[in-house]
Structures are given as structure tokens and as C-alpha cells.
Symmetry: C2
Subunit: 309 residues, 2 copies
């Protein structure tokens, strides 16, 4: 039996890394020769969680076909968010909670997607269906992933299943959900020491829309003003990223995790699609989106619809 790599999306967040670790462990228990890897280094929030639960960061890979023929994807499916040579390997399984797009296989596969707030919520189900116990440290990472994806249950993507899974995992992991959760989220808002180019790439995904390539990045903060004090520097970095990578439009979503609002900064064209998407007028390239915290549910579908209109 040849080895299988399991990984989440590029610019991995806590779910991308936590779900890879958790799903790989389940597959191992089921007898498969798998290794959890990652398409980038953990961000500060994820590093905090890994450290808290005593787990090592997965090995970082940039290509996979050089070492395996088969892979399993977690927390993503769109090829442009996956490993560079994804089309050269067979995708055996996907566990995800996003829309499906820019994904195809030549053969039947295992695909498990549910419209819940976090991949790790689905993976907890898979453990139960397979009658496998979740190890304590892995429960901690899965819990961290749910807290991260749902912003401690404040995101509209959060479902009752996510809340129930998080509570169950907190018990296994032996932590207080609220205390640990807020501590972990705050660890991810330490943006001050990051260069603008790094900041706009921390949690960024590309979406082909009509004939445009739209880049949407999100950062969490406890102080919007602190981030926008660096607006000129951020705009220059976004402009440079557009030029270097062929993005037409770059949308940076800065989310205040305490107030559950976001302010967007937009560089590139067509900006009118963004104004139409949120029914706002961009002033100084910016707009406040009240109550918006979820890229997946409150940003991507709205922009997609504006491009289709």
C-alpha cells in the first residue's frame, strides 16, 4: 500500500491544519498509510493551538506528486486553493464545508461535505461513524478549528452541530471552551509585527469570477483602527500582489472579533462589483460591513452573485 498525503488549503488556518491532523489520525486507525502535511507554516493562532496541545506542526510541502500518487483533501476542494500539482495525483477523499468549484476527478471518490461551520465538526462525525476514539490532543486541535472558523460561535456559518461538537471536544481536551477560545483567537490578532505583504497573505484565497481573478484575504483584529493606520502600506502590498500574481481585484476583509463587524479595503478592478455586492459606496477604497464576519457566507457568495449579474 503506498502512502497517502492529507492536507488542507494554501495559507493554512487552524481548521486546515487541525482537520488534516484529525482526519489523518482517523485514516491511520482505519489501517491506511497516511501523513498529515500542510501547504504552509501555521499562523500565530494555529501555532498557539498546536503548542497548547503539545502537537508538532505538520511538515510543509509545496508539491506532492514527487512523493505520492494519492491524496486526501480537507477544508477545501478548489484546485487553485490546493497544492500546485494537484492535477497530477489522484484525489481519494475530500472532507469539506465549502462550496464545490474548480474541482474534478477522473474516478469516483469519497466526498463528504456538509454546510456546517467547520470541517472538524464533520470529522468528529466520521470518528463516531467509524467507532474510533478522538485522542485528547487531537480533540484540542479540532476544538480550536471550530472556535477559529466560527469566531467562537459568532459567525453566521456556525450551526448547532458546531456548538455541540465544540462542547464535546472541549470535554475530551480538558479545557474551558470560552476561556481557551478567546485566548486562542487573541493570539491570532497579533498583526503589528507583520509586514503588509505578509499580512495580506495570512488567510487569502483566490476565486475565479467571470473572467476575473479575485483574491479575498481576511485578518482578525481587536482594533480596526490599528490595522487601517497602515492603509497606504496595505494598498501598496495588495497592488504589488495583483501585479505579481495576475489578480484583477484584491479584497482585504479586516474583521473585529469582539464587535463582529468587518471593514473591507479594495484594490484593483472592477470595484463596482464590490459596491454592488454589498450595496455600499467605497470611500477611500474602504467600506464598513456591519455584522459581516464570514468570508464564506457573507462575502464570497455576494461577490460571486455581483459578477454573475
Amino acid at each position: 500500500m503506498s502512502k497517502i498525503l492529507v492536507f488542507g488549503h494554501q495559507n493554512p488556518d487552524t481548521d486546515a491544519i487541525g482537520a488534516a491532523i484529525a482526519f489523518a489520525n482517523l485514516q491511520k486507525e482505519l489501517g491506511k498509510d497516511v501523513e498529515a502535511v500542510a501547504l504552509g507554516e501555521p499562523n500565530e493562532e494555529t501555532a498557539f493551538a498546536l503548542n497548547h496541545f503539545g502537537l508538532a506542526a505538520p511538515r510543509v510541502v509545496t508539491t506532492v506528486a514527487n512523493e505520492v500518487e494519492q491524496v486526501m483533501l480537507v477544508d477545501h476542494n478548489e484546485f487553485q486553493q490546493s497544492v500546485a500539482d494537484i492535477e497530477n495525483v489522484e484525489v481519494l477523499a475530500v472532507v469539506d464545508h465549502h462550496r464545490i468549484a474548480n474541482f474534478q476527478t477522473a474516478d469516483p471518490l469519497y466526498y463528504r461535505a456538509e454546510p456546517v461551520g467547520c470541517t472538524s465538526t464533520i470529522i468528529l462525525k466520521l470518528y463516531k461513524e467509524a467507532n474510533v476514539e478522538v485522542p485528547k490532543a487531537i480533540a484540542g486541535m479540532m476544538l480550536s478549528a471550530i472556535v477559529s472558523d466560527t469566531l467562537l460561535f459568532k459567525s453566521p456559518t456556525c450551526t448547532p452541530e458546531d456548538v455541540a461538537a465544540a462542547k464535546e471536544l472541549a470535554t475530551i481536551a480538558g479545557v474551558d471552551l470560552e476561556t481557551y477560545g478567546l485566548e486562542m483567537l487573541k493570539a491570532g490578532t497579533n498583526l503589528g509585527d507583520k509586514a503588509a505583504a505578509e499580512l495580506i497573505d495570512l488567510d487569502a484565497k483566490s476565486f475565479p469570477m467571470a473572467d476575473k481573478n479575485v483574491r479575498i484575504a481576511q485578518v482578525n483584529t481587536v482594533d480596526l483602527a490599528e490595522v487601517f493606520a497602515r492603509q497606504a502600506e496595505l494598498e501598496a502590498a495588495m497592488q504589488a500582489a495583483n501585479e505579481q500574481n495576475g489578480y484583477d481585484l484584491f479584497v482585504l476583509v479586516v474583521t473585529n472579533i469582539l464587535d463582529s463587524d468587518s471593514e473591507i479595503l479594495v484594490v484593483g478592478e472592477p470595484k463596482e462589483k464590490i459596491e454592488a455586492a454589498f450595496d455600499v459606496k467605497l470611500v477611500n477604497q474602504r467600506a464598513l460591513l456591519k455584522g459581516v464576519v464570514s468570508r464564506k457566507k457573507q462575502v464570497v457568495p455576494q461577490i460571486t452573485a455581483a459578477f454573475q449579474a
Copy 2:
């Protein structure tokens, strides 16, 4: 709550119709307002099964956006195999056992695919997970779907899960698996009274490959010679279908359900991709494919690979 339509692929086979009936019933039990419909009339095999278990054929629809906003798909995902206006409705759920391609959504959805022989095998799992009993007549249709898709367990797509599910469903349905199964399969091989144009469209699917549009149809028989006695008539119908529908290449797979072999008839270009796919030389546009019974596992991936080479 607005109504949701549930349906399988165009040119419905027994799984497309059986899985739609079974999944719709499950969703009803879970409180959803759903109706199973079909994208075509039942074929003779399916009609035999519906009649045997006393079920009505689902209403046939050609468009859905005129009556609903949301749909659930079974036994297919590729848009060109789905309803004509699939892009104008929201796909809430998919239960399938095929490759994923030419499928995309704007929002997260429920997607359950497993590499098993039949959609109905997965749907039996969903009943169990939801703790809902399978009604007797519906168990009969699900059993019929498994027998149909696996050719009574002879297809390489058949997994131990399909066999176990079929046995369990036969018990609920109160039929002898082997006796009923062979009787049902034979009911589907009555091709003599069908016009060639009808025969090549009974179970036909389109696949975009490279820049070509490839049509692959399959018919079951207990006598290959009887079908190929009509070769000239079949070729003319395939040629006409290519011209009318813009297919580049039409492959008719004639499967002997007793010997578990298939003979193919090919009309259109590039024929050399078919020869490369199966490492055969077409003689008189035909080739015998020993041991080939599964379009999904033994035909589509091989032709796909030949087009990618």
C-alpha cells in the same frame, strides 16, 4: 418552506429513479417538503421494478426553475447530465457514486459521494444514520437499483457494501435476490422492438473530453449478435445523433449480462483515442472488450486518460 425537487440524471436508469424515490422519502421523513421527479420515462427494466413493487413512476420534468428554487441530485453531479436549467437553481444536496466534474455551486452544500457500486447503497446508510426505517416498496426499488448498477454483483464497481446492502434490502422487500435480480435484468434486455435512435439513447451520457464532446451509451443484452445484426441501422442513428447534438464521438457499449463482456461500436472522431483507451484495433468500427461491463469504471476513465495523453 418552499418545495424541493429530487431527481437523478437524464435518460434515467433504475438507480436514478430508485435513488430519487428513496432519498425523497427520507427527506420527507426528516421534515422537508420534497418531491421525487425524473428527467425521463422509466426504461423497461425500471418499469418492471416499479410495477413489481407497486410504485408509480415519478413525474417527468424537463425544467425545474419554473417551479422550485432548490433541488437535490442523486446518482449524478455533472451539469450536462442533469436538468437543462440546473444552473438556475440552488443545489442543496448531492448523493452520488460517480466522479465529480462539471459541477459547481455558489454556496456550501451537503455532498455525499462514496466509491461504491450504487447510489442506493449510500442512501441505505443515510436511512440508518437518520434512524429512519426503509418502507418495503422503497427497499425493493433500492435493491433493484443495486442489482441494475452492479449487474447482479458482476460489475467491478460492486463493493462488499453493495452486496451487504442488497441482501438487507431483499429481506425488507421480501424477494429472493438472485431470482428477482435476474428476472429484472432480463426485462431490460428487450431491445428488439426499439428503434435504433431510441436504443442508443436509453442509457446515454455526455462527457466533455479535451475539446471534444463524447457520448457514451450502454445497452444490456443476453445476445450480442442480435444487437449487431442491426449495426448499419445503429451507425446511422449514432451519426444522426452526432450531427443533431454536436457530439464528436459516439461510443455504444453493448454489454452481455450473462457473459460479462461488452462489444463497442464507435462512430465519429477521433477514433484513435478509443483504440488507445482499450489497446484494441477497431474492425468494422467494432471491438470486443473482454470482461468490461462498467461504463463508469472500465470505459469512462480509460477514454478520459486517452484524451489527456
